[in-house]
C-alpha cells in the first residue's frame, strides 16, 4: 500500500505534464500588494516527462469520477493552466464542477499562510537580533586589499567587503539612487594595479538618469580615494532599474 523510498526513480514516473513549482504569486513590492504570476526561480528542478498525455496512473488508489475523468487528471489539467483545451473535461458538467472545487481549494491554500501569519504574534525582537548576531559572525570579507604599510613586515589591508559597503553607502547617499550591486574588477592584491569598479543602481522615477549616474560616480570615486589606495581605471555606473517613491510608511 505504501511506497517505500528507493532513491530517484525517474524511469518509473508517469508521462504527465512537466512538474514545475506551483506559481503562488510574485515577490512583495513596496506597497504590500502581491503581484499575481510572479517570477519563478528557473533553477527550480523540473521533472523529466513528456508534455501532454494525461493518462491516469495505474498506481493511483483514488477512484475516478463517474464519467472516467480521474481527480489526478483534473489536477494535472489545472496545473497546466487548463491548456491545451480538453473537451472531455470542459464539456462534462461533473468534471467542470470538480475542477471548480479544486480551484477553490487551491486558491484557499495559496491564502492560508497569509491568514496564518496575520493571526500570529509578531516575532520576538531579541530573536531577530540573535539571528543577526550569528550573521555578523559570517561576514563576506572577500579579498584583502593592501594599504601602504609602516614597515617591511607589517601588513595593512582593507577587506573587499568593507569597500563594497563603502560603495553602497556612497551610492545610497545620492538623492534618488539606490545601489543594487557593485563589483571590483582587477587584481586588487597588487598595489597600484588598475581596477575598474562597476556599480548598478536603481533610480527614482522622474529623475534625470545621466545626472544621477554622474552623481553616483562622483560620490563613489571620492569615497574610494579617501578610504582606499586603489588605482581606479574607471567607475562605471549602470542604471538598471527604476523605483517609485512611496508616500511615507514601510511596504
Amino acid at each position: 500500500m505504501s511506497d517505500r523510498p528507493h532513491g530517484t526513480d525517474h524511469a518509473h514516473e508517469d508521462p504527465t505534464p512537466p512538474d514545475v513549482p506551483v506559481d503562488l504569486g510574485g515577490s512583495v513590492e513596496p506597497g504590500g500588494s502581491v503581484a499575481p504570476g510572479g517570477p519563478v526561480d528557473p533553477t527550480a528542478p523540473v521533472d523529466p516527462g513528456a508534455p501532454g498525455g494525461a493518462d491516469p496512473s495505474p498506481d493511483e488508489l483514488v477512484a475516478g469520477a463517474e464519467d472516467g475523468v480521474s481527480p489526478e487528471r483534473l489536477v494535472d489539467y489545472l496545473d497546466a493552466g487548463r491548456q491545451p483545451y480538453d473537451p472531455e473535461i470542459e464539456e462534462s458538467p461533473e468534471a467542470r464542477a470538480q475542477l471548480a472545487a479544486l480551484e477553490r481549494l487551491r486558491a484557499m491554500g495559496a491564502r492560508l499562510l497569509e491568514s496564518d501569519a496575520a493571526a500570529s504574534p509578531a516575532p520576538d525582537p531579541s530573536w531577530i537580533s540573535g539571528v543577526m548576531d550569528r550573521v555578523r559572525l559570517e561576514s563576506r570579507a572577500g579579498r584583502q586589499i593592501p594599504l601602504a604599510s609602516i614597515d617591511e613586515r607589517s601588513t595593512l589591508h582593507i577587506t573587499e567587503g568593507a569597500v563594497r559597503s563603502l560603495i553602497r553607502e556612497a551610492g545610497d547617499g545620492v538623492e534618488g539612487a539606490m545601489v543594487i550591486s557593485c563589483t571590483i574588477h582587477g587584481d586588487v592584491s597588487v598595489p597600484g594595479a588598475l581596477v575598474r569598479v562597476e556599480v548598478v543602481v536603481s533610480g527614482l522615477f522622474g529623475e534625470p538618469l545621466p545626472a544621477l549616474a554622474e552623481a553616483v560616480k562622483s560620490a563613489v570615486s571620492s569615497s574610494l580615494s579617501r578610504q582606499t589606495e586603489l588605482t581606479l581605471e574607471s567607475v562605471d555606473v549602470v542604471v538598471d532599474d527604476v523605483h517609485l517613491q512611496s508616500e511615507g510608511g514601510a511596504a
Partner: protein
Amino acid sequence: MSDDDGLRAPISPADLSLLATELGEIAASVDGVVHVRARPGFGSVVRSALQGLSAVVGGGGVVGSTVQSDASIAGATSADPGVPASDIPDAERADPASAEAAAPGRPVPLVGIAVADLETRITLDIAVDESGSGPLVARAVAQALLDRVSGEPVPPASVDLRIVSVATGA
C-alpha cells in the same frame, strides 16, 4: 618584566595576555577607530604560518565573552604545518576553538599576539569612521601598537591589521 641589560626571561603568559588586552585598548583609542574586533581563525592561521611558536593569546572567540579555550600554549610547542587555515575565502566564521587562554574569568583579548622564534605577530581587525581616512588610521594604529610593544621581552614585532568595516555617522 625585567629591565636588565643581560638576557631577559621570556614574557610570561599572564603578562602576554595583559599586553594583548592593553593593545586592544590602545587601538580602540586611536582617533578614527570605531571598533576593534577579534580576527576569526587567528589561532589556526598562526599555528600553520609561524615557526617555533611558543605562545599565543587573544585574537579569537566570541567577542566580549569569557570563553575559555582549549590548550593555552605556554612554553614549548611545535607549530604544526599540517594544520590548515580555518578561514574560508568568502565567508569567515568566528571560531570559538581559536580563542586562546586568558586568566580564568577574564574576557579573551581582541588583539591576538603570537610569539615565535624570530617574530612577534600582532593581529587585529578594526572598524573605522567614514569621516576620517582609513589608510591613515590603519597606519596610526599599527605604529601605536609597535611603539607599545618595543621594550617588551619578545622577538621583533610586526602588525597584521585589517579594516573590516567603514562606519557612517548615522
